[in-house]
Symmetry: C2
Subunit: 364 residues, 2 copies
Amino acid sequence: MEPGLSPYAGRQARLRKKLGARDLPLQLVSNPSNIFYLTGFRGSAGMAVISPSEAVLWVDPRYTLQARSDARGVEVIEERGPILKAVARWLRKRNARRVAFEDSFTTVGQLRVLQREAREKVRFEPAREIIESLRCSKDPEEIGAIREASRVTAAAFKTVLPQVRPGIRESDLAAEIDYQMRLQGAEGPAFETIVASGARGALPHARPTGKLLEKSDLVIFDLGAILNGYASDMTRTVYLGKPPGRIRRLYNAVLEAQQTAVELLHEGQRCSEVDATARRVLERRGLGQYFTHSTGHGVGIDIHEKPRLVRTDETRLPVDCVVTVEPGVYLEGLGGIRLEDTVLVSAQGPEILTSAPMNDWCIS
Amino acid sequence: MEPGLSPYAGRQARLRKKLGARDLPLQLVSNPSNIFYLTGFRGSAGMAVISPSEAVLWVDPRYTLQARSDARGVEVIEERGPILKAVARWLRKRNARRVAFEDSFTTVGQLRVLQREAREKVRFEPAREIIESLRCSKDPEEIGAIREASRVTAAAFKTVLPQVRPGIRESDLAAEIDYQMRLQGAEGPAFETIVASGARGALPHARPTGKLLEKSDLVIFDLGAILNGYASDMTRTVYLGKPPGRIRRLYNAVLEAQQTAVELLHEGQRCSEVDATARRVLERRGLGQYFTHSTGHGVGIDIHEKPRLVRTDETRLPVDCVVTVEPGVYLEGLGGIRLEDTVLVSAQGPEILTSAPMNDWCIS
């Protein structure tokens, strides 16, 4: 990044262009992830307005110093009272007429306050995730951050793998993974780390428990790091012992589904087609019914963002978007197998960012 | 808890009574914290309806097994399509007329989908945080969980304290704290652990950085654990060296404000009065302007919940509510001092749950 230049000016400019195309001069931003994307400020509270000529960020006094030090290309206003009301007053003073708001983030109660304080003058219109759509295609700073978060995730897993054996607790392994991610530079886990062994692996979102790993368990590890505000997401499954033929066939089916779907990740590919392809691999082996979730999702500031690799998402992958590919099968009583990478859709095709082996999955 | 009995039936009954008093037969619940409170199911997605005679929980296939195993007093429905639409169809079939929804959680976009799918028949009315208000006063199971989360938090701090010395990184201390909380049984940190040293302490919500602790630094530690779905919250401040008189006076002022406010925590006390009292202690010493946030907040399933110990909250503390008391002063260039406990407002008065010393704050 050249001195004096920040990615935020460019992002704000892209947003203004999109707003202009819809004849919406102003956008209200209250989703903290969108505020971070547009200004560099990372707080749990605050609100911003992007207008054709201005960018303003309201924060409460807890965040004033942080906002003044971190935010770029935006005027920071400290507000000691309710921020919603301050923003509504500002809109009134500016004689704003039409204002886009984040209808998939703003609550019904918040809109009521805004509308009441702004009086009749302002018409609030659903933004329909304009900013979330901009965030699909990552700029070089973002790709660098996700790459680093992914590196830390894979490194932590590889460090902890030698401890994976019968007799250790799921929760202790999860604690070790989180600790290793931190030592490698992560700010923290991007979500609650999953270590689910044996029959518990059939719960795709199982919390780690005090259960001890046992011989002949399948063990799912689903982990991700946050680093510089960006997330990564990776899943590996191992087997404790020499797997019987049935487990081996299940694993290889998920592996083939995962790798086949990753290979499809090129600019212009339809999200729904990536999902359908992963699903077909499993269906051909009679396993379709056990693949109970979508194939993947975008990753960036949020652990789940646009696009979604799902039957109903007809968008085409833009260049430089980052998605997970994570097919899995879940058999009640037996357990689960899921394999997941965070993948960059570069101009040259798919690049796996979470590089930890998938072939070395039997621990004896 | 007697076998076969669960706290969820009682909570649902209390909600039905409140709804009845407002002549609102049905409540839609989509805030995961409220779903957990009413059913015991902890997932990132799902939606519930509480009616006079029924309780229904919709989950997607990722959560079916978990919901069937964890949820109590509620019928679990697996929904493979969009859950909002399934719920709206259910309401239509039941000929529902008036339905309370969580206006401080439901987004404008979600309400639009509900309204469209339910057609004209159903009128959705703001619930105005009925469930959040019920959650203020904790039942014995909840108090037990917060007590345990608080114990783990204090224990982790005491374990890490001997490592606090010049030359160690903020981020390494934060990683150690999180690791110790996990080893003690926490599911994870309740929020991103704060370790902010020297001038960085003037940012009340500073993220830990690679900064090394230095002699003559004030160091703020703000930490909390999640355990069995319940949070705790605690802050301690230490000084590295022999503090000059000015730092000592600042520390003692915050300590007095904290202890004075804790002593006020009796059933029936106004929240605004607790805030005013803490503030007066600091104002009398000319420090009012440096206390830039509210005095505290409720803690439970969420790290921030009702009530708030703030000038504008006129509610009276119910018995068995749990709140933090956390006055602080922040001086640009010098740093910050904040002292915080999680406190149970029992019938006998305040009981501090995060018991780690505050008097032993100088590390030489």
